[in-house]
Every structure is written in structure tokens, then in C-alpha cells.
Symmetry: C2
Amino acid sequence: MKFDLERSIEVLSATPATVRALLESLSDDWIASNGDRESWEPYDIVGHYIHAEETDWIPRAKVILAQADDRRFPPFDRYGHFGRSDGRSLLSLLGEFDQIRSENIQTLRSWELVDEELELTGIHPEFGEVTLRELIATWVVHDLTHIRQIATVMARRYEEAVGPWKEYLSILK
Amino acid sequence: MKFDLERSIEVLSATPATVRALLESLSDDWIASNGDRESWEPYDIVGHYIHAEETDWIPRAKVILAQADDRRFPPFDRYGHFGRSDGRSLLSLLGEFDQIRSENIQTLRSWELVDEELELTGIHPEFGEVTLRELIATWVVHDLTHIRQIATVMARRYEEAVGPWKEYLSILK
């Protein structure tokens, strides 16, 4: 499938409601963080979504669109949500994600991007030149990556409970 | 995490709204079936959820609870939704999934299962004796498996569009 801005916005718009529907009525047993920076739980992942809205996608898009002499992206701290979310309820984080995502989609729409702009580039700290089109496509895939991760870490809680079915459930491998 | 009936029902109750939030506003480019029985698209997966509600979880639980001489489960046809869903819109399937899932949760609740009943067994066609507890845990994990699958097959549509980020996105591997 070729990149399409409207199709991308469809997914970006759906993510906060999807994550909310999945998580908002669950007990802490399913969602609570264990504070482990390398083993994220649903609570941590919602914090990570918000942190990326604040410091990754739109800020990087602005670097590209500015086309200044220095087109290097500000670094993204993938642990930045630890600490930032301390003491917040999951419901409060879900509300914040909803809010900031919808503001960011408004910003994205307000740019009325045309093909030439989508071809503009910035410099990623690890792999160099990337286009605005690739950045937005990655925003979409990143959303889906973490929906997948939430489903996976939840499923693993029942790894023993499923008994012999474990062999048949690829999500548990 | 130990199996818990109420915790299980939390996830079972959330799935139809989650799948709806993710898919209901997307274009066909993201969701349409390609008719390939071995490569399911979001449309196919919603059909599969419904088919499993009709012929797998509750019917098998009834076999266990009946404790008749023959405790073998009726076989489940994992391709049963092909054909069954023909000509239906995704929105219509999402509505049907919502409806049948909520009926099945009502049925499950109406049984007021106690520990002794959760230990009762039926005979799975491939791996023999399984308990009602394992069946219900598998119902939950199966829900999460297919949320994960929907996210994965959607993400793959942007495999090329993300450019060099592909290396960093495990969902594309």
C-alpha cells in the first residue's frame, strides 16, 4: 500500500479510542506498571504514546518543514515517560493521550502538506536522511506496534492459565 | 497471574469495542479481505471472532458442563467464516460481534461458576483433556491474539513507506 496522508490520519485518529476501549475498564492486574524499564506494561505504554506526541513526531516534522541549516532531529528518549507519569491514574493518561493526539492531528492537517513537502528531509540521529513521508508512516506503524505490544503483554499473564492450548497460541511464544 | 473469572470477563467485554474503535472509521485499503484463506485481513478476523462465538467457546463450555458420556468438543473450523460473511459490510459484522459477545458473556455469567466447575474437563480433538478454566483463559488470549494480528497486518501495509525505520520496527519483521 502506498503512503497516503488521509489514510494515515485515519489510523492516528483511531488509536486513542482503541487503547481506551481496550484498557479503561480493566483491573490493575492487567495494566499496572511494574517500574521495569525494559518490560513495559499497558500503563507504561500509554505514557510512552504521550511522551512521543510531545517530543517525537510533531517536533521532528517541524524540523523537516523548517529546512534550517541544522536539520538534525532532537534525540528521543524512549524511557522519557518513566518519571513523567508518576502518580497519574491510567484514566488520566488516556485522557491526556486523546487530547494531545487530537491537537497534533489538527497541527498536521493545518500544514496542508503537498507531495513536495512530504519529500523534504531531516537527519535522524542513527540512520541519517529521512523524508517527512517516512516520518508520518512511522508514526502510524508505531501506533500499531504498541497496540500489538499491549495485547502481547496482557496475553502473557495467562500463559500458564491456558494449559495445553499454549502450544497453539503464537502470541505466547 | 492466576486465572480469575471476573478478570477474564473484563477482557472479553472490552474486545468488541476495541476492535470497533480500531477499524470502524478506516478505509477499505486498511481492512478489506483479499479472500486468501491463509492471509487474513481485518475484515476476515472480525468474521472469525463471530464464528468462534457461535461454534467454539460457549458450545465447548456446554459440553464440559453437561459432563455427558461423550465429552468430546465439536471440531472448530478455522476457515468457517469464509463464505459465512460474504457480502456483509464490516460495520454490520462489528455490530454482530458486539451482540453475540454480549449474549455469550451473559450466558457465562448466568452459570455462576464455582471452582469445582472450572475444574471439570472436556476432550479437545487434538490434545485431549482440558478444563473449563483453561478454555475460558484461552478465550481471553484468543481475543488478544487477534487484536495483535489486526495491528500486525495493518502495519505491514506501510512496510515500504517507513523507509529506513523498518529496521527499528519489530512489528515489520
